[in-house]
């Protein structure tokens, strides 16, 4: 018996292929955007885990110097002699085409075999690995970036991206390091061994590094992507809900007939569930494929963003697990269930003789307006509570979600009120009919218009945030990059000669020396600055004392970046504990956009005295008369510096801005896709409604309005509704922008940006939304114009 029931139900789609296509399109798009974002996140997290597993030694604690410097070989020998079971590690960077590559040198004979590093190397390779000119191990993509070392590299595909493994002596040669970066602490240590403090007091035990360290830094970025994916998914589900609900209602006569012919309600529901499941599986599979393609297209930008913003390395190619594919299809099924739950519930409870009223089904949502207003109030209350009592990044996203949902729920009510006002003002009969008919259509279109509102508001909000960020960031770069040239020296012994060379060829040489260390328990950078007026003139301080720069010169305080200040709640004059067991005072806070880490700026003399292991390779140079080319040529000739070790200010600015643009390329792409989905939602709703609007249009046609006039009015109606939706989306979008800048950014990245307004962008977006609505309405309007008069006349013969 199930066979004929399914035949009857499924035959609906055969007779309405467009409605079926709409449903599959909506569900596929929703699934594609969601699973695409999940693919990006999964690939990134997989790369973090691989990198952390290699770098962190698979859960082993480490010994490192408190000042971040190199551990001498003598210290290693002393520890081994005292009974400490440690394995040394060299951790450095190699320059290559397309950025730096991490080099890890290990000692194959002492490294624990259960670490990821040891597991990456077949013991049979040990003879080739150790000794002079030992081989290097890398995956194919990384190896391709090091043509100079091509002969020595052995390909191991499973190695983490952007990483090279080598024997410790080979690594020391390549990065010119005399000692070791850190040492793995083996898990089984002798019970009787001297304290670390008595053998190597300059060393400290660090807990195992995990993927979470990188994950924490990048969480906000992934959360942003996920939020966009969710928004797109919700917009796509609006299409599915409309199509499924309408299909149920259109088939109510069939359901009634089935019941009369002896099919139980339970069997009908089961058949409908089977039908929906089949559709969800088909659409889910399509969506997952499209999502994969989308993710593959966006991954290079995401990888560049994560590399530029967080220093995280992500594979450029997608390698997704079967679980991801299943998850994509699963989310399609869940989405379908959510979108169809109401319709199924109504069918299950439908009396056998319930009459079919597809128009009434559409209009029923007008009765829901009171509920919508109530829902909007609840969402707003939840949003306010989330910020007032919850806070944090999640609280921020609840605020944004609640605000956007409330706005979407309020849209039909606001549009209905505006149409009522317009209706009262209209004088002519056509105008009055137009507004009355528009108000009658509104409930049927409201879901698509809500989707358009969300897409437009997200566009205005995110666009304003990005443009504000860009304007602020560009201005900040102009101030912050005070030096004309930036130079990196390969060998620190060249520094005195460099200083002497530059003494009469530059206005000033500003060392940019730093050490990586932990401040307040989190990774941070500590920089040193010399006493020079150029800093006081250019450094953008968010808050400072009148004598901040004098105190820096005296060595009685430190500057910190906004991220560190917000994270730890530091204010001016607060004590600032620093590594090495000493404390200084916060005397200034500066903006530091794009840096996920906390940063401290000390007088240079203090930095070098407190932290001997400081990296002294970078310098900024103030060039007289801006004659950078001549000085660059002279430096290259005198010191044999490669070209890419001397960078002028403009190149750094351009590089920084290009990273910035790539950072938001993904956001912009998702923005456009969401808007496109909303456009599809409008198109599908208009086309669906068009097939049921004949009873409304036929009387107007019979009373003398031509089909062309009716078609034109349909087109204008779509434009009017889109324009009104855009007008409401504008303040909603600006509210969203403020939330992103003042709450989400501060929570996610640690900095707050001023909000700039860009009316020209709004005008463009307004034109775009009108264009989308116009395009969506052209086909239904054209169909109406071309509809045979007999179709309209038949309405009267069918009316009972």
């Amino acid at each position: 018996m199930t066979g004929p029931v399914l035949t009857a139900l499924l035959s609906h789609w055969r007779r309405r292929p467009f409605q079926l296509a709409t449903l599959l399109l909506g569900l596929s798009l929703a699934t594609a955007l969601w699973s695409g974002v999940q693919a990006l996140n999964a690939e990134a997290r997989k790369s973090y885990a691989e990198a952390a597993s290699i770098l962190g030694g698979g859960g082993l604690s480490e010994l490192a110097r408190t000042d971040g410097g190199t551990i001498p070989v003598e210290t290693y020998a002393a520890l081994r002699t005292a009974g400490w079971l440690v394995s040394p590690l060299v951790d450095g960077w190699l320059s290559s085409e397309g950025g730096r590559i991490r080099l890890l040198g290990m000692d194959p004979f002492t490294i624990p075999q259960d670490t990821s590093i040891a597991a990456s190397v077949e013991p049979s390779l040990y003879p080739e690995l150790v000794g002079t000119n030992g081989i290097l191990l890398a995956n194919r993509a990384t190896a391709a970036r090091l043509p100079d070392l091509e002969d020595r590299i052995r390909i191991i595909e499973d190695l983490a991206p952007n990483m090279i493994l080598a024997d410790i002596t080979t690594a020391q040669d390549l990065v010119d390091m005399a000692g070791f970066s850190r040492m793995f602490l083996l898990p089984d240590q002798p019970l009787l061994r001297p304290d670390l403090a008595s053998v190597a007091p300059e060393l400290t035990v660090r807990p195992p590094a995990t993927a979470n360290d990188l994950g924490r830094l990048t969480d906000s970025f992934h959360l942003n992507l996920t939020a966009f994916g969710l928004l797109s998914f919700a917009v796509g589900l609006a299409i599915v809900h409309g199509s499924v609900g309408l299909a149920f209602e259109q088939r109510r006569p069939v359901l009634r007939t089935l019941r009369a012919l002896g099919v139980s309600a339970r069997r009908i529901v089961m058949c409908l569930i089977f039908e929906l499941l089949t559709l969800a599986l088909v659409a889910g599979a399509l969506g997952v494929i499209v999502g994969y393609v989308m993710a593959a297209a966006l991954l290079p930008d995401v990888a560049a963003t994560l590399r530029g913003l967080y220093g995280a390395t992500v594979n450029d190619a997608l390698t997704l697990s079967p679980l991801w594919w299943l998850g994509g299809v699963g989310i399609a099924c869940i989405g379908t269930a959510v979108a169809a739950a109401n319709g199924l519930w109504r069918v299950a409870r439908m009396p056998p003789l319930a009459s079919a009223r597809p128009r009434a089904w559409i209009m029923a949502s007008s009765h829901a307006m009171r509920w919508q207003a109530g829902g909007a109030a609840v969402c707003l209350a939840a949003a306010i509570c989330a910020v007032a009592f919850g806070g944090g990044l999640v609280g921020g996203f609840v605020l944004v979600g609640g605000f956007l949902t409330a706005a979407a729920l309020l849209l039909p009510i606001i549009l209905s009120s505006l149409i009522s006002v317009a209706s009262r003002w209209s004088r002519g009969p056509i105008g009055q009919w137009f507004w009355a008919d528009t108000r009658q259509q509104l409930p049927g279109l409201s879901l698509a218009l809500m989707a358009l509102l969300l897409a437009l508001a997200a566009n205005v909000g995110v666009g304003t945030m990005v443009a504000s960020f860009r304007a602020t960031f560009a201005g900040w770069l102009d101030q912050r990059l005070v030096s004309d040239l930036y130079v990196t020296v390969e060998d620190e012994t060249d520094i005195p000669a460099l200083m002497a060379f530059l003494e009469d060829k530059s206005d000033a040489v500003l060392p940019i020396w730093h050490v990586d260390a932990e401040v307040m328990g989190a990774p941070a950078e500590i920089y040193g600055v010399v006493d020079h007026p150029v800093y006081a003139a250019n450094w953008p301080l968010l808050s400072a004392q009148p004598d901040t720069w004098d105190r820096i010169a005296e060595g009685t305080g430190a500057l910190i970046n906004e991220q560190l200040a917000r994270r730890e709640g530091f204010s001016l004059e607060d004590p600032l504990p620093l590594p090495g067991g000493w404390t200084t005072t916060v005397i200034g806070i500066y903006s530091d956009y794009g840096n996920p880490l906390g940063q401290v700026v000390l007088p240079l003399e203090t930095l070098t005295r407190r932290y001997p292991g400081v990296d002294r390779s970078d310098f900024g140079i103030l060039v007289p008369d801006r004659n950078k080319e001549a000085l660059t040529a002279a430096l290259t000739e005198e010191f044999g510096l490669p070209e890419d070790w001397i960078t002028d200010q403009g190149a750094i600015k351009a590089f920084s801005l290009s990273i910035f643009e790539r950072t938001f390329a993904v956001t912009a792409a998702l923005n456009v896709l969401t808007l496109a989905v909303a456009g599809v939602a409008i198109l599908t709703n208009l086309l669906t409604l068009a097939s049921m609007r004949l009873p409304q249009l036929a009387p107007a046609w019979a009373l003398g309005l031509t089909r062309t006039t009716l078609g034109r009015l349909e087109f204008i109606r779509a434009l009017v509704l889109a324009a009104l939706t855009f007008m409401f989306a504008l303040p909603v979008g600006l509210g969203l922008a403020w939330m992103l800048l003042a709450i989400i950014n501060v929570e996610a990245f640690g900095w707050r940006l001023p909000m700039h307004l860009f009316p020209l962008d709004w005008a463009w977006l307004g034109a775009l939304s009108l264009g989308a609505a116009g395009l969506a309405s052209i086909w239904p309007a054209y169909q109406l114009v071309k509809r045979p008069p007999a179709d309209l006349a038949r309405v009267f013969s069918h009316e009972r």
Partner: protein
């Protein structure tokens, strides 16, 4: 006795007080018997047919079909009864719009598991639908649609056919032709037929007539 309805009561909610549509209705029907049910619009004819078909619950009374009280059955039991033993012809035809004539004709028989025994060529010849088998309901006239509905009802070889104003939407001559067809098919298949109609002229062709007025039934 195929059908024994006794003391049937049915009320619908009204704005002030419940409206009694069936007030102690009793009737019986033998196998193969044709009974016409007449009455004014709103007299409760359709409600009585719906209750007998198990489409509407009753407030009181019993409906025994082949000795089994359908009022005590659950939804699945009533559905099985309609599927296997009752054919229904509606005033609004109620064909499945997305299935063609051929599929609509055998649909009920397929549900009842009797599709194999349907002699489709003979049935379509009787119905005069031979040239319309691949058409969809929207391509047919009202009379043709009702003929399909009648064919669907009798093709499943039911013991009882309930016809609710089957000519109500048709002009006089078409209505007469449809009625004659229904009667002939019922006689041919041996099914009992309970037909609700406004038309006294059509009712006269039945074996027995019953009139429903103000919720009461009289012969």
């Amino acid at each position: 006795m195929l059908l024994d309805v006794h003391g049937l009561k049915k009320c619908f909610p009204g704005s002030e007080r419940p409206i009694t549509v069936l007030d102690g209705v009793s009737l019986s029907l033998d196998a193969g018997e044709v009974v016409a049910l007449t009455g004014e619009s709103g007299s409760g004819k359709s409600t009585l047919l719906h209750v007998i078909a198990g489409l509407e619950p009753t407030d009181d009374g019993s409906v025994l079909f082949d000795g089994v009280d359908i009022c005590s059955m659950d939804d699945a039991g009533r559905a099985a009864l309609r599927r296997n033993s009752i054919g229904i012809v509606f005033q609004q035809f109620n064909l499945i719009p997305s299935l063609n004539v051929r599929q609509n004709l055998v649909f009920h028989a397929r549900l009842a598991g009797r599709a194999a025994s349907v002699d489709l060529p003979a049935l379509t010849t009787w119905l005069g639908l031979t040239d319309h088998l691949d058409k969809f309901p929207e391509d047919l006239s009202g009379g043709e649609q009702q003929r399909v509905a009648i064919g669907r009802a009798v093709a499943s070889e039911p013991k009882l056919v309930l016809a609710d104003e089957p000519t109500g939407n048709l002009d006089e001559s078409t209505g007469q032709a449809v009625f004659d067809l229904l009667l002939a098919l019922a006689r041919r298949t041996g099914a009992a037929l309970l037909i609700a109609t406004h038309s006294m002229r059509l009712a006269e062709a039945a074996d027995r007539r019953m009139h429903l007025s103000h919720g009461k039934l009289r012969a």
